[in-house]
Amino acid sequence: MLKQTEGSQAVAEAVALCRPEVICAYPITPQTHIVEKLGQLVKNAELEHCEFVNVESEFAALSVAIGASATGARAYTATASQGLLFMAEAVYNASGLGLPIVMTIGNRAIGAPINIWNDQQDSMSMRDAGWIQLYAETNQEAVDLHIQAFRLAEELSVPVMVCMDGFILTHAYERVDVPGQVDVDRFVPPFAPRQILDPQQPVTIGAMVGPEAFTEVRYLAHYRQMQALWMIPELAEEFEEQFGRASGGLIHPYRTEGARTLVVSLGSVNGTIKDVVDEMRDEEVAIGSVSICSFRPFPMKALKLALQDCRRVVVIEKSLAVGIGGIVSTDVRMALAGLDIPVYTVVAGLGGRAITRASLQEVFDKAAKNALQRLTFLDLKHDVIHREIERLESTRLSGPIAENILRELGVVADHIG
C-alpha cells in the first residue's frame, strides 16, 4: 500500500512482513523507531509467532539473535554507531557461524567526539566482518532491501546488514509502497536452515578450529559472498518482476552514457548527486553517477564495467580511514586497477554535516578541470583548522581539541546547513 510514512516505520513494517520469529534489540539513536514499532507489532499480535526479547546491551542483542538463528528461528535485530561497535565480537561470530541474521544499521557517526548524526563510519568499521552489506538510497529501497535480505541471507546462510542513513532516511517522511503479506510470503519462503540446534538430534555449532581447518572455513565464508555477487542481481530481477519496481542489485548507474566524470557513492546522498548530475548535464557537462548498493560483497566487475569508459572518478564517502583517507575509494581504485583513471576521494557528511548541491557541484567542476586534490574534505573549515594547529604548535597544554573548536565556533545550531 502506498503511504506517506517515516522510514523507520516503513522498515519495521517490511521486517514484520518477513515473519521474523525472534527480534532482540537495544535502543540506540537513530535506529530506535524501527525496533519500537516492531515491539508494538509483536505486542498487538499484528506480528504473530514472534518473540520480542528485551536485552541489556547490543552485545546481548546480537548474541540472542545468534542463539535464536542457531535453533532455526528467523532472527532480526537493528543497531547503530557505538551499538554496532559494542556488538563487534558477536558480529564476527554471526558470520563465522554462517547464521542468516538480518540487521538494520541506522547509519550514524562513531565517537569520540560523541555525535548522534549521520555518516557511515559505523557500518564501514564492520565491512570485513563477513556480513553482506547493502546500502539503501531511499526509504522505498530500504523497505525492498529488507525483503530481499531475508531471502539472500537464508539462501546463502550468511548474515546481511541493511544500511540506511540515520535521520536522513530513518526519520524522513516520504511515500513508500509497503507490499502486501501475500506478495512477501511468495518472495520470502519459510526459513530452511542449513544447521539446527535440536535436542532430538544433537549437534554442536561453534567448534574450536585449529590451523588444520581454519583457512578452509574462512575461505568458504568468502566463497559464499562471491556467490552473492550473482545472487543479489538475480534476486533484484525477481523482485522487480514480482513487485514491479527496481530495487537493490549490485550498483545503480545513472546517466553514465558518454560521461567523462563519474561520481560514486553509497546510500541516500546519491539522490542529491543525481540532482546535481541533471543540473550539470543541462549545462552540457558529461557527468553521471554510480551508487554502490552491495558494498560487501564488493562488485568489482560490475563497477569496472560501469566506470571503465570515463576519464575520472569522484568518490563521495561518508567515512574516513584516518591515516589513509578513503575507505570506499580504496576499493574503487582496486576495481579500476590497470586502467589510467584517477580516483578522487571526497570525504563528506561526517557527523551529519549537510552535503549540499552547491558544494558537490563545486567539487565536480574542479574534478572536471583536473584541479581536485586526491583527498578532499568537503566544506572543511580551513580557518578553524589552521587556528587549532597554531594553538597545538604554540602551547604544550593545548587542551581537548573538540572543546577548543566548539568554543571557537560559538553558538551551536544558530544557522542552517
Binding site: 517515516e6 526519520h171 552535503i355 544558530d414 542552517i416
Partner: protein, 191 residues
C-alpha cells in the same frame, strides 16, 4: 519544487508539523518529503524541520537552504537563530505570536520581500483555547494553508486526523480552522 522550513523549540511539535504538512501534500497526490534537523534532543532547544513538495519524485537530501515558506513556531527564536537565511524575496512567513510585526522587529519584512508576505497567527492562544495545551503546530498549518494556497485546509485536517487520536485531532482541527479563518479575514494576499 516548493520548500518549507519550520522553526521552533524541542517539544513544540516542529517535527510533527513537517510530517503533517507532508502527509497533507501526499493526500493531494503530490510527492513530499519531511525530515527533521535535530540540533539538540532536549525540550526547549532550537529545532527545525523541513518539508518539500513537488509533482515528481524528490531525490534531494540537503536541508532546505532556500525556503519558499517559513513557519516560525516560537518568536523568541527571531533573535537567536538566523531564521530568514536563504528566504526568497517571494517567501511567505507564518509567525506564531500575538504581537504585531513592528513589535517583533519585522517592520521591514514586506519591503525586503516585495513578492512575499508575512502573517502573524496567535497559534499558542488558539491551541490553548481549542486543545488546552500550548502546542501551536496545527494552528500554524491552518494559517499556512490559508496564506500559501498551496495545500487545501481539508488536506491539513485529514493529516491531523491521521496523526492524533480522534478527540485530540478534532481539537487541533478546530484550532487550524480558526487560524485559517483569521488569516483569510486579515486580507493577507496569498503568496
Amino acid at each position: 519544487m516548493f520548500q518549507a522550513r519550520i522553526h521552533g523549540r524541542g517539544g513544540q511539535g516542529v517535527v510533527s508539523a513537517a510530517e503533517m504538512l507532508s502527509v497533507a501534500a501526499f493526500l493531494e497526490g503530490r510527492h513530499s518529503q519531511a525530515f527533521p534537523s535535530f540540533g539538540s534532543e532536549r525540550m526547549g532547544a532550537p529545532v527545525m524541520a523541513f518539508c518539500r513538495i513537488d509533482d515528481k519524485e524528490i531525490r534531494l537530501r540537503e536541508p532546505v537552504m532556500k525556503p519558499d515558506a517559513l513557519i516560525i513556531q516560537d518568536p523568541t527564536l527571531l533573535h537567536q537563530v538566523n531564521l530568514f537565511q536563504g528566504l526568497s524575496e517571494r517567501g511567505c512567513v507564518v509567525v506564531n505570536s500575538s504581537r504585531d510585526l513592528s513589535e517583533l522587529g519585522l517592520g521591514d519584512f514586506r519591503r525586503e520581500h516585495p513578492g512575499g508576505n508575512v502573517v502573524i497567527v496567535p497559534a499558542t492562544e488558539l491551541a490553548l483555547q481549542y486543545v488546552g495545551r500550548p502546542l501551536p503546530n496545527a494552528a500554524l498549518l491552518g494559517g499556512f494553508s490559508a496564506l500559501s494556497g498551496l495545500i487545501k485546509l481539508e488536506s491539513i485536517e485529514a493529516a491531523i486526523r491521521k496523526k492524533f487520536p480522534p478527540k485530540v485531532a478534532e481539537a487541533n482541527i478546530n484550532a487550524a480552522r480558526a487560524a485559517a479563518q483569521a488569516v483569510t479575514q486579515s486580507g493577507a494576499a496569498p503568496c
